[in-house]
């Protein structure tokens, strides 16, 4: 019953969601036209509303998307103020040219329509990426993700997961503190000095929680015994592999393709070796790790169809995928890319069953059993 309930509440494996998020992000990069980005954001929002259940991460979703929009708007303003030269001047502001040691560019001056449009377009893609990331966080079990890591990275992954978990609790704390601040003055809002009044309790509460959690982990033997030489060997090997891959990227940018090729090969080999050593050599066992089911694999394949189909369309020369700000015109919407992006809705074939009401019923029945006993 437990297994069934488990998969009923979270129908998809964390790795499946990871693949979904990667596929969605890749689709955004291949088809950055605003209408397609809007479609991906809509899909991400739908996914959160269906799978986010009542998790604090799901409540953080609108906040993160809003934050991304603020940053996008800021970026538009900065770009419009500092980038010049082009047709369609909307209006002209008083200008100021910075000295050379500050970059030497002109702030203000003429503000052009296409430059604003281009910056907004690029900003919107970033909003899309953040929406996908926030949706991924809202639906995924972070611990499940940590469990899927090779053993050698388990402790590190857990620390990261615990760190991520502080985001929603901090949001809750901010809400509580704001309310307490209003309650203190009988509902009257006093703006002066409000930031300090609100930030100090949030930080201190967060710190206290962090200490409690650290002590709880310590008391339960976290990182006891350290890692075996084999595990740490694997970890170092993996780190070296990643470093090699990063080096390959740098070499590629510098135009050293032979060096890049060598680095890619050795880096990739090192990562694979690390994975193999870490997963076979570990004597320690994880408690009931969730395994990928056939449905998970099928879904991974389905969502991967989206970026693959978009790539094919892009090679075939579909002009609607990318939008150009100049000359300014309404972005086009074609049927095929929409169908391709539709693959990202595939997770919805299985819906979670809310366990909320079930929980209260079982807890009362358990009480009755206790009383009877």
């Amino acid at each position: 019953m437990t297994r069934a309930q488990n998969s009923a509440e979270r129908p998809w494996h964390a790795c499946t969601w990871l693949v979904w998020a990667i596929a969605a992000t890749a689709s955004l990069q291949i088809a950055p036209s605003p209408l397609y980005v809007a479609l991906v954001i809509a899909i991400a929002t739908l996914v959160v509303s269906v799978y986010g259940l009542d998790s604090p991460y799901a409540r953080a979703y609108p906040l993160l998307v809003g934050l991304a929009m603020v940053f996008a708007a800021l970026r538009v303003a900065l770009t419009a103020l500092t980038t010049h030269g082009g047709p369609h001047v909307l209006f002209t502001l008083p200008s100021l040219t910075l000295p050379n040691w500050l970059g030497g560019f002109t702030v203000g001056s003429s503000i052009e329509g296409p430059i604003i449009a281009q910056a907004a377009y690029e900003g919107f893609v970033i909003v899309g990426v953040v929406a996908v990331f926030a949706a991924f966080n809202a639906v995924v079990s972070h611990y499940e993700l940590v469990q899927s890591l090779p053993r050698a990275f388990h402790e590190l992954g857990l620390v990261v997961a615990v760190g991520v978990a502080f985001v929603p609790t901090t949001i809750t704390a901010i809400h509580d503190v704001r309310e307490a601040d209003r309650a203190r003055t009988g509902g009257r809002v006093v703006r002066r000095g409000r930031l300090v009044r609100q930030i100090v309790p949030v930080l201190e509460t967060g710190l206290e929680r962090a200490i409690t959690l650290a002590e709880s982990m310590d008391s339960r033997g976290f990182a006891r015994g350290g890692s075996t030489p084999r595990e740490s060997g694997a970890a170092w090997c993996g780190a070296a592999g990643l470093l090699g891959l990063a080096g390959a990227f740098v070499a590629l940018v510098a135009g050293e393709s032979t060096v890049a090729l060598v680095l890619v090969c050795t880096g990739f080999a090192a990562v694979v070796l690390a994975m193999v050593v870490a997963s076979t050599g570990s004597t320690r066992v994880r408690y009931r790790p969730r395994r990928l089911t056939r449905a998970d694999v099928a879904l991974m394949a389905a969502v991967c169809a989206a970026p693959i189909a978009l790539t094919v369309l892009s090679i075939a020369g579909d002009a609607s995928l990318v939008w150009v700000a100049s000359p300014l015109r309404w972005p086009a919407l074609h049927v095929l890319p929409v169908i391709a992006l539709g693959a990202l809705v595939a997770p919805l074939v299985r819906r979670p069953v809310l366990a909320r009401t079930v929980g209260t019923v079982t807890s009362t029945s358990a009480r009755q059993q206790e009383v009877a006993a």
């Binding site: 437990t2 309930q5 488990n6 509440e9 009542d54 998790s55 604090p56 079990s141 611990y143 857990l158 615990v162 978990a165 704390a173 509580d176 503190v177 309310e179 307490a180 601040d181 209003r182 309650a183 203190r184 003055t185 009988g186 509902g187 009257r188 006093v190 300090v196 009044r197 100090v200 309790p201 201190e204 509460t205 206290e208 929680r209 409690t212 959690l213 002590e215 709880s216 982990m217 310590d218 008391s219 339960r220 033997g221 976290f222 990182a223 006891r224 015994g225 320690r284 066992v285 994880r286 408690y287 009931r288 366990a355 909320r356 929980g359 079982t362 807890s363 358990a366 009480r367 206790e370």
Partner: protein
Amino acid sequence: MSALEYRDVRFGYPDGPDALTGVTLDVPAGDVVLVVGDSGSGKSTLLRAANGLVPHSSGGRFAGTVVTFGRDTRTHTPRELADVVGFVAQDPEAQFVVDRVEHDVAFALENLGLPELVMRRRVEEALDAMGIAHLRDRSPSSLSGGERQRAAIAGALAAAPQALVLDEPTSQLDPQGADDVLAALGRLNADLGTTVLIAEHRLERAAPLAHHVVVLEAGAVHAVGLPGPVLADFPGAPSVTALGRLLGWDPPPLTVRDARARALSGGREALHGAVAPASGSSPATVTDLPAPGPALVSARGLGVDLGGRSVLHDVSFDVHAGDVVALLGRNGAGKTTLLRALGELLRPTRGRVDATVAVGCVPQNPSSVLFAPTVRAELRETIRLLGRDDDAAIDHWLDALGLTHHAARHPRSLSGGERQRVAIAAVAVGGAPVLLLDEPTRGMDAASRRALHDAVVQHARGGGAVVLATHDVELAAECATTAVVLGDGDVVAAGDARDVLAGSLFAPQVLRVLPPFLTVAEVATALAREDRP
């Protein structure tokens, strides 16, 4: 054999005064040992020394030895003691590592590197021992307080430790949740022989469970012994114990059952004379109820929806000048929501709240209010925010809540109960005639409760009103004039505090032993009347 041996343990936190000043104590294996004492008497420090969190995690000055099942904590870190001592901190919410109960319970086992089959068995056993097998797939944040605390204990228990150390495990819980947790601990001790070291303020439920009680005072052991004799002289003793002390019952009872047996076998005689004259009239003659003043806040047809769920429906009641309203009901019944609506922190979905005067609201978690460097500055801040300058009010509230000697301290360095009082003072100093207090006695020791009780009564007598959302029935019996019981968002009982409390499961202990008396103070008054014919 001793499970834990403390030998002349002295400890001071970094930059702080000494928390322990020479504790020598043996905790016998297989016993339940209850540690009591005022806030700041060193209970938490004593407990945290059991598995080496003091001094390994806390830092500070440590002297003496603590030997836990033959391992010296100076040479063994908490993680090396994880297989013999399980530790559960006060705040259950902050100690979950994994967002699923079952996996959180398995966390210690994974760290100990046990084989898979052993882990499976241990997790099942721990879930069963705490009666939470049906919650295994839930996220800890979705559980009720009692369930969450039991899940935290299961997490400590899975490693099959020989001793469990719990710091005020029931302080955040409603009576139901507290019962569940303590019953589970009792079962654990009886069935598995696990040594339990537990610190508590509210002793009504914990005292009957204990084999030994340790009273701490200013970082030293004041008394150790059997619960009855030791608690007889302790100010925070359960009401029945205080009653037994008043009536000269020896040994003083610890449970309602003991006390009732005692009352039936002659203990009541002492009171016959006192009860008889009052029995014809209303019991309210025992305390003098002032006539209700004008309505200060009135709610009409109040309904609140949160997250698409109706949390309150059609609640109507008035708060009059001079009222102390006790808002009772289990966790999740809508008490906090009602307070927030009355305090206009929340816009009601239906109905309305009319307040003729200012309303101040103190949230459940005092930490969300406190930010100033000293207690006095914390109070001054409220006055300043209201655009006034009134040192007399600051002194008045510091004095009323017994905080005068803490005025120069940092609010966060105080204990839970003291912080709660600072938060109340910081709101009350604004001069709002109506005060809404959400669970004000959480984690409070006897002295803090006394101070709070006096301040509440004084505020109401002065023409104000106080609404207390509380699980503390004894507090409600001692100071409430009106009681409102909420059940699933509805008012299920409302009216004179005495009538409501007398007719419900929420009856205070004294009422269950010597009706119609509600509190020890009432019995004392009646006895005094009898002596003065």
